[in-house]
């Protein structure tokens, strides 16, 4: 059973003359422990795909299966619970609550799930130190650099032991060095913690950290490249591509 399975997924915004097809019958299967980057020119539908997989938006047509269950048919309540327990979100603008400190921000999903505050704090601190933020727990977001804020956000995404991490342009608001840090943190989440990461980015250098790149154009998948195979395997795939010419 694939972690994420997307079948004939379509999303249409508006109607009539203002109708925009953001996704057009997309099929994608993502296995557990894969680090997938979604790339493509702006307006290609990459964010829409992420939103639909994350259950933040409803598809016009088709289905999204998370660990075998179809989320497009779930009620808002079930979906909310699924997001809380199985998914972690990382946003371009970090989206930390400005009035909470790093530990509290990190612990949010656990508190939302009714975990005891002490346990939530302990877990949050653990994740912060894993993400090299020891001693920053009491800092509020405005006292942290962009890269640090994003690492708090990653800690927050990881704290509830989710199956899937969804990241929307996680480095879009960072300089290239902090961007590299964030990308390698995500890499570690996949390598060390065997999580599935789906990341939307337009930065090739960040995408290169992934195991697989899905290219979207005009709402369709135009290419799907595995990056991490052995040289021989890669060469074989490349050869197949060449032959399909």
């Amino acid at each position: 059973m694939a972690t994420i399975e997307v079948k004939n997924l379509s999303k249409v915004y508006g109607s009539g003359e203002t109708k925009v097809t953001a996704l057009d019958s997309v099929n994608v299967t993502i296995e557990q422990g894969q680090f997938v980057a979604v790339m493509g020119p702006s307006g290609c539908g990459k964010s829409t795909l992420l939103h639909l997989i994350g259950g933040l938006d409803r598809p016009t047509d088709g289905s999204v299966f998370i660990e075998g269950s179809d989320i497009s048919k779930m009620s808002d309540k079930t979906l909310t619970e699924l997001r809380r327990r199985k998914m972690g979100f990382i946003f371009q603008f970090f989206n930390l609550i400005p009035v909470l400190d790093a530990i509290e921000n990190t612990a949010l999903p656990l508190i939302l799930d009714g975990v005891k505050p002490e346990l939530a704090r302990t877990k949050a601190s653990e994740w912060l130190s894993r993400n090299k933020l020891d001693g920053r727990g009491k800092h509020r977001p405005d006292e942290l650099s962009g890269g640090q804020q994003q690492r708090v956000a990653i800690s927050r995404a990881m704290v509830s032991d989710p199956v899937i991490i969804l990241a929307d342009e996680p480095t879009g608001n960072l300089d290239s060095r902090s961007g590299d840090e964030i990308a390698s943190t995500l890499r570690k989440i996949v390598t060390d913690w065997k999580r599935t990461v789906l990341m939307v980015t337009h930065d090739p250098r960040i995408a290169a950290y992934a195991d697989r790149i899905i290219f979207l154009k005009d709402g369709k998948v135009v290419d799907d490249t595995l990056l991490n195979g052995s040289n021989g395997e890669n060469a074989k795939r490349l050869k197949e591509k060449v032959e399909s010419l």
């Binding site: 090739p204 290169a208 490249t225 490349l238």
Partner: protein, 193 residues
């Protein structure tokens, strides 16, 4: 030409044996995987430099194969001259460009597929470089990391260039393809290598 000057540079520090120079060069570029220079090539280069009087070979114990190389003042002058020059790579001789231009002319090849394949390959390379770079320790291998960065950035530039081509491929196709200027008479223009 850089191998030659690197060897001169290493010798400017102190006289060295041949195998010492082989190891020194590999260390300089951060490993065989970055720049795999065979010892034979090193020795050939050294022999040429001895011929040109840039270095001197001192036999040891009369053995022909074993001995120390020392830089000459001429060699030192040549090295300094190299330092004074700047290094600009020749970016226009791009094999993929040729492939792409030709594919636009030939009906049997799809230019956009070409881009897809090239991109996949570039990404695989970038991924490999990124992994390598990740494996380095920033506390004592920073120089090598910088070299990786250079490669990564070049690959990134190539990828961006591909994106740009892809987005404007239609426009390129609509324009008349570059044709050689037909000259009725005279020799073809000389070409420099």
């Amino acid at each position: 030409m850089s191998v030659r000057h690197s060897l001169l540079g290493l010798l400017a520090q102190k006289p060295r044996y041949g195998y010492e120079l082989c190891a020194g060069f590999t260390a300089l570029v951060g490993g065989k995987e970055n720049w795999d220079v065979k010892p034979a090539q090193i020795y050939t280069t050294l022999a040429r430099m001895v011929e040109s009087g840039l270095v001197i070979f001192n036999n040891l114990n009369g053995q022909q194969s074993k001995g120390e190389y020392t830089i000459t003042p001429k060699g030192h002058y040549e090295l300094m001259d190299w330092f004074r020059s700047s290094d600009i790579e020749e970016p226009h001789q791009d094999p993929f460009y040729l492939k792409l231009m030709l594919s636009l002319e030939l009906d049997e090849v799809d230019a956009s597929r070409l881009i897809v394949i090239q991109r996949a390959a570039l990404y695989q390379e970038l991924h490999r470089i990124t992994e390598q770079r990740q494996a380095l320790d920033p506390h004592n291998q920073l120089a090598q990391m910088m070299l990786m960065d250079k490669s990564a950035m070049h690959l990134e530039a190539d990828l961006r260039w591909l994106d740009m081509i892809e987005s404007r491929l239609d426009e390129v196709q609509r324009q008349p393809s570059p044709k050689p200027a037909m000259r009725p008479r005279g020799r073809p223009p000389s070409q420099s290598a």
